[in-house]
């Protein structure tokens, strides 16, 4: 029985993916995670610290780390880099003024060696708001095309408010990670 449970455990572990959600404050990281997990999104305080959600997605178990984006606590992001399979960068598409900040922080993140193997999903959030920039425009401003050619990345427009686009984004992310890690499946 002991051995069997160990094998089961390892088997289960193999299907786990560690996903790190980061982005500027007010971009909607926590709302996205709660929306995907089917939780109530009507009362969400700005994240002081981090939240973890374990979500079963297709045949995989996603451990999603949602880390607060306030300026004061951005320096702690690096404590969460280790063993990250997928990186989700969330952008507030309606916050045009801070897109420069957003670009700078993303560039800093992508320089990080510990994240060099992680697939990158850029979520252009708040598409439901009138006047929000389209994903293609965000990609241009963030200069995503100039990224290191070895990086697997995709930008998807979404709305954590309506839920639109979230599944598309996470489908791609999970598939991409799976194809890198579980090639033998």
């Amino acid at each position: 029985m002991g051995l069997l449970s160990i094998i089961r455990k390892i088997k289960k572990k193999e299907k786990e993916m560690r996903i790190l959600m980061v982005g500027l404050d007010n971009s909607g990281k926590t709302t996205i995670v709660l929306r995907i997990n089917g939780e109530d999104t009507s009362v969400i305080s700005p994240t002081l610290g981090f939240n973890i959600r374990t979500i079963n997605y297709q045949k995989y178990t996603l451990n999603i780390w949602d880390v607060g984006g306030q300026k004061t606590i951005r320096s702690y992001w690096r404590n969460y880099f280790e063993e990250t399979d997928g990186l989700v960068w969330v952008v507030d598409s309606s916050d045009i003024r801070r897109l420069d900040d957003c670009k700078m922080e993303l560039n800093n993140l992508l320089k990080e060696e510990r994240l060099s193997g992680a697939s990158l999903l850029v979520l252009a959030n708040k598409q439901d708001i009138q006047g929000a920039l389209k994903p293609a425009e965000i990609a241009k401003v963030l200069n995503l095309d100039a990224m290191d050619k070895t990086r697997h990345w995709k930008i998807v427009g979404c709305s954590a408010y309506t839920g639109e686009g979230l599944v598309d984004g996470f489908d791609w992310l999970v598939q991409d990670i799976a194809s890198r890690i579980y090639v033998l499946d």
């Binding site: 007010n26 009362v43 700005p46 300026k71 004061t72 309606s94 003024r97 009138q130």
Partner: protein
């Protein structure tokens, strides 16, 4: 051994003579032993001192240490200068290895002499050694950067041509991006001074709104909104109807805000009062002298707007402020509850009043 044999003598004669004899014999043996030890020590001391004349003298140790240290340093500088002329890396590599060897010899020297050196000297010389090591590491990384490990495909001839094409594409793309980076502005009030700015949001207009660079203005935003961004306001009074999403406030001073929203973030605010109704906990960052009170705004139809935005009930969160710069259990000195005696009364803004002086 002899003693034992004697003792084990079955006759067990214990006369005093034999005992004293044995005693003196033992003393003699012991002194002999001591003598030989001393002699040996003397010899070893001589041989040691031949090898290292600095033995057991702090001053001579320090002299030797500093001269060795200097030699290593000059060697390091030499290596660095060679690199400027882009000389062969193999040569540098062997040189650097030599330096590393002499540093470890220096370390050994300190270790050997540490038992008689004063504590301070040991510590300072160890520090010097670690500095030297660091310097070597630096020079090493400067001169011989490690190649990143990577798999490479062997068929490079055809690939190379492809690569050239890709690079060209990149250049073109980057140029494109540069010219296109200018983004449109979102709707909002910007760059005004000393005016009253009024805007009505109808049922259809559900977007975000920006207040930026305003000085000594009164701003009234009536109706429902999705989000507002506030940036660089001075000495302004801002009254806003219910907001479905979030509010982001940055760099405000000497202002008054009345806001109802799901989320409120306040950065770099000074001496400003906030009258809030908020579903979650408001947060402040890098702010001071900010005070909080409940929402007191009224206009015709605000009740249905509040209901529409699920902001009808007051959660009492207007006073549960998180200061991200004050992560302790005690009350942050940066914010306080506005005392009831100092609060403004209910503010009524008329929906019909549309006159906004030259906005």
């Amino acid at each position: 051994m002899d003693d034992e044999e004697d003792l084990s003598n079955p006759k067990k004669i214990s006369n005093e003579d034999s005992i004293s004899q044995k005693h003196s014999a033992m003393i003699e043996r012991l002194t002999n032993l001591h003598q030989s030890r001393l002699q040996q020590q003397e010899i070893s001391r001589k041989s040691d001192s031949n090898l290292s004349p600095s033995f057991e003298s702090t001053k001579s140790f320090l002299d030797r240490f500093s001269s060795l240290k200097q030699a290593i340093e000059t060697e390091l500088d030499r290596c660095r200068n060679i690199s400027d002329r882009e000389s062969k890396s193999i040569l540098i590599k062997s040189d650097l290895e030599k330096i590393s060897l002499s540093i470890s010899n220096l370390e050994k020297l300190v270790a050997e002499n540490s038992y008689f050196l004063p504590n301070y000297e040991v510590r300072s010389s160890l520090k010097t050694i670690s500095d030297l090591k660091e310097k070597l590491e630096l020079v090493n990384s400067e001169l011989l950067p490690k190649k990143k490990f990577a798999f490479k495909s062997k068929s490079s001839k055809t690939k190379e041509q492809n690569n050239v094409v890709v690079v060209n594409e990149n250049v073109i793309k980057e140029n494109d991006v540069d010219s296109n980076v200018k983004v449109r502005d979102s709707p909002g009030f910007r760059d005004k001074e000393g005016v009253v700015l009024i805007k009505h949001f109808g049922d259809l207009e559900e977007g975000e709104f920006t207040l930026e660079n305003l000085n000594s203005c009164e701003i009234r935003l009536i109706g429902r909104l999705r989000a507002i961004f506030v940036h660089k306001l001075k000495n302004c009074r801002v009254f806003v109807g219910p907001i479905m999403g979030s509010v982001l406030i940055e760099q405000v001073e000497d202002c008054l805000f009345m806001l109802a929203s799901h989320q409120i973030r306040i950065h770099h605010a000074k001496k400003t009062d906030f009258y809030l109704r908020v579903r979650s906990r408001p947060i402040i960052e890098d702010s001071n002298g900010v005070r909080f009170a409940p929402y007191l705004l009224v206009y015709d139809g605000i009740e249905s707007d509040l209901k529409e935005c699920s902001l009808y009930e007051d959660t009492g969160n207007w006073g549960n402020v998180d200061d991200f710069r004050w992560l302790r259990a005690v009350q942050s000195p940066n914010w306080s509850i506005l005392p009831e005696g100092e609060r403004s009364g209910t503010v009524y803004i008329s929906k019909s009043e549309t006159s906004s002086e030259n906005s």
